[in-house]
Symmetry: C2
Subunit: 174 residues, 2 copies
């Protein structure tokens, strides 16, 4: 049976991957959809959006995973266990049938760093409830993810303020 929910991937080295996912959440919430955001790397959602999210507490769930995912740990087993826990949590949310949109923010790094296999992730994504839209963000989107996605956008940085010596600004925060 054809899925009605789309699998969307925002990848590439530019800005706007998480920001565009945020915009999709904003849009979906306006339709009264229930939205679940799972952040796999601590800190990709920042103060601004967390404050704004409070205005949608009736519809929006926000979960910060990856407490230990600084990717600087010297204990790879601990990192893998934390990644596994995060993914197990995400699986429950994806399969719950409670949401219209699930955002898996920076999920790609779990595959990139060998924490969870792409096969396992794709298996769950392909078996998701048929009306569920899923957005995956992060660099290094894998081949299977791209092959199965309905929409893939590459965000390509042409100019970046940090390269120009301008520091990230509060409220916009690149």
């Amino acid at each position: 049976m054809m899925k009605k929910g789309l699998l969307i991937v925002n990848t590439g080295n530019g800005k706007g991957k998480t920001t565009a996912a945020l915009g999709m959440a904003f849009r979906a919430l306006g339709h009264g959809m229930r939205v679940c955001v799972i952040q796999f790397i601590k800190g990709s959602w920042k103060y601004g959006e967390l404050e704004s999210a409070k205005r949608f507490s009736d519809l929006l769930e926000f979960h910060v995973m990856g407490k230990g995912f600084t990717w600087k740990s010297e204990n790879i087993d601990e990192d893998k266990a934390a990644a596994r826990d995060a993914w197990d949590f995400a699986k429950v949310k994806i399969s719950s049938n409670e949401f219209g949109l699930v955002i898996l923010d920076e999920l790609t790094y779990l595959v990139k760093f060998g924490m969870v296999s792409e096969e396992e992730i794709m298996d769950i994504l392909c078996k998701r409830p048929q009306n569920l839209h899923v957005v995956v963000t992060g660099r290094y989107a894998g081949e299977q993810l791209i092959a199965n996605a309905d929409l893939v956008t590459q965000m390509v940085a042409e100019k970046h303020p940090l390269k120009n010596g301008i520091k990230a600004q509060k409220g916009v925060e690149f």
Copy 2:
């Protein structure tokens, strides 16, 4: 004097230009910033985000310009007058010093279709209040706009659901 507010351009043929701008609005609103969105092409902001925007009526102004900008008009003089009115309105908002973020959604088309000159637009953008962030979205970003921007992101479509024969979905709506 160095501006603290950034000039940001989301361009390219992919999805996510307006959506990423929406995400920036969501973020800025969370910081309590006042945000003004000016939509130069009718319909680029849709039902979902308009409904969500209502939850920020204390901080967010939303203006739909371009009543006549279907770009299908046979009356080019009428189109030009409407574009001029829209730009004049935007100028007031940009210069007002009332906002932390102004989003000029699909502004690029005014230049592309010869409605307003790039020189005039850049003059106003470069003279904006120094703490004001401006986001310009749309395909065909002009050379001067790119040259003066602090951040330019090209959204590049790798896969698009319409190309795969899947219709746009309510709540996500590409």
